[in-house]
Symmetry: none
Subunit: 209 residues, 4 copies
Amino acid sequence: MPVISTERMRDRRDSILAAASRVFSQKGFQAASIAEIARAAGVSDGLVYKYFENKRELLISALTAFYERVIDDLEQQVELGETFADRLRLLVQTHLGVFVRDTGLCRLFISEVRVATDYPGSAIQVLNKRYTAVLLRIVHDGIRNGEVRPDTDPRVVRDLLFGAVEHVAWRHVTTRKAIDCDRLGRQIAGMIVGGIAPPRPAARRRAAS
Amino acid sequence: MPVISTERMRDRRDSILAAASRVFSQKGFQAASIAEIARAAGVSDGLVYKYFENKRELLISALTAFYERVIDDLEQQVELGETFADRLRLLVQTHLGVFVRDTGLCRLFISEVRVATDYPGSAIQVLNKRYTAVLLRIVHDGIRNGEVRPDTDPRVVRDLLFGAVEHVAWRHVTTRKAIDCDRLGRQIAGMIVGGIAPPRPAARRRAAS
Amino acid sequence: MPVISTERMRDRRDSILAAASRVFSQKGFQAASIAEIARAAGVSDGLVYKYFENKRELLISALTAFYERVIDDLEQQVELGETFADRLRLLVQTHLGVFVRDTGLCRLFISEVRVATDYPGSAIQVLNKRYTAVLLRIVHDGIRNGEVRPDTDPRVVRDLLFGAVEHVAWRHVTTRKAIDCDRLGRQIAGMIVGGIAPPRPAARRRAAS
Amino acid sequence: MPVISTERMRDRRDSILAAASRVFSQKGFQAASIAEIARAAGVSDGLVYKYFENKRELLISALTAFYERVIDDLEQQVELGETFADRLRLLVQTHLGVFVRDTGLCRLFISEVRVATDYPGSAIQVLNKRYTAVLLRIVHDGIRNGEVRPDTDPRVVRDLLFGAVEHVAWRHVTTRKAIDCDRLGRQIAGMIVGGIAPPRPAARRRAAS
DNA sequence: AATGAATGAGTTTTCATTCAT
DNA sequence: AATGAATGAAAACTCATTCAT
């Protein structure tokens, strides 16, 4: 029987996690110290280790929580699109929006999680799959509805789309220049859609190579 | 007059740089120690600081040297393509090839240099510009020759292309699965070309590959 | 609530301070290493930094503690003198005694603290003021009682007295020759008193000792 | 037979010495590097070691050269005084003047040379003796001429005088406040003279204790 | 459960000094 | 005689992690 309630424990854990998100995103993984996170969470250094194995696991947990919120948001947003093109555009725009709003955590994600060698099979990867699954479903639906050329490889679409979003977002992160999510999202999605749209009767085209 | 020849000095510098490239790409910036790099280069710890201001500058120098080799290679390869589509495909394939061959250095570049706040305006950024200039020129030429739709925004093409390459390559880095640069390059380039090709009246579009 | 008692913490701090006093006064500031001080105090290197910001602050703290003891002693001793001349002599003798007993710390004080540019305004300077205040009060009282010529500048007295004490003591430090605090104190004080005593009409002056 | 003339060697040595004086007095012993001194002197690092055993010896040599100039100056100045009181005053004023003009070197002297354990018997000590000899001679002459009380201990006069000068000068060094050498010199010397003046017939005095 | 005192490993950087040329 | 490349030792300081209380 726990001396403090499960609910209280959940609160403690959450406040540490929230503090970690804040401190990590401001200072980066290496520069953030457990002591500072503990102070920000209003707990002692030692207690952090009751809830998280070590500093790295704390980072991963914080990013996972963030990632879950992002995906929930993404799935909801995409639902709003009616056509294939709409949904693709919404996906890009929402994705970009996350980068703009949570720049610090996104930077952390790219610079720290991606480098980690324990990446394959981790909780993060599961979320990654779920994230990309959203896109893959959109493409599959598009193919079924005749909005997408049937020979389209959805994985290449995924690489183009997520790659471009990150590339743009990263520039935003490093240059600190504002980005126009709306316009850019429209352009990126538009270019991809144009490329995978079924042949229009009034146009002729030869294979590229 | 110098006690040892300029050539000898150049050699020393080069061997330190080569050792740094090796050690940094294996262990990452933070985990690599100057002592290990010096040992790998066969020099004393102190000598490293005769040639490089500090650890970070050593990293930047190593990555710059690498980047220069990559760009030289890229520019040569792209020249071989005759049509717009050819050149775009070669660009993607070469780019992917670099990631596959020098995974460690590419990872280093993305995780360490990009995160740096001093990134804008640095020597690296100059090379970055040169790198992307190759693509922008290809697109501009394509527009002039009528191979590319005139309303195409070359910057969005750049984001799609480089983003996708990095995304694919990164998966290679983390999953350690081999990638087929040839096929993937053809697919990515093909999808972009399809999207930005000008519509030709009264023609039928065929799949690219 | 603290895991170890406040008393225990005070002990830790004190033992570090005592060890620092010993090591610093033997080797000087620069030559003493934190590791050696920690070893002498029976604690780990890191703990030193829990109690003291950095090496310099440790030095200042050690000297401040020493200085406080010295001043307490000085103030008590001076109280024992009944006349102006007595008090002045006691001041010089006590002052010399401190130099003789704690040669190392005095050397440290002069060579390290005085050179420091942060000296003005520091905690040490406050003690310095308190130290000299003892003398200034003696002189002022002497003037009020008619034992000291009224046009005497107490600051010059201070410079003569403390300067001479330090000069004598320094010779003791460097030559390692014993000094006779009693006799020397009498001589120095006597010479100063002779100079600032008001001329008494129709009297004959005798030698002080 | 030297390849370069003795004169040339002397020049080299002097320029190193001059550079060392400048750099040492600006940065202090520890912070000054041989490389910087060599650069300032326009010679290579290695050459410094042809003329001076090591860094410390270079410091001692620089201070010795400085000290010699100071003493020469002092001896000349003191000659200008006609009476005992005049000469004593000139001594103090000149001494203070040196501190004001060459603050850096004086600080260096006090903080570095005095601390040195090799001080007794060193070249510096010889100069020290010569320095104090100037004063002792003045006092002896004063006694012979009846200007100074015969039972005066010249060594105590020395301690009072040099001690006070240094004490005042050191305050100047650390507080960076200007000092009025003229007035202060007059006060210090005056107070000492008053104390050691032969008994004036119209004054009576008792022993202090 | 919670604390926070205590640990101690780990690393960049500097620079006096040497010595091959 | 002169150079300056090369050495390598040395040390302050931080902080993740542990564990007695």
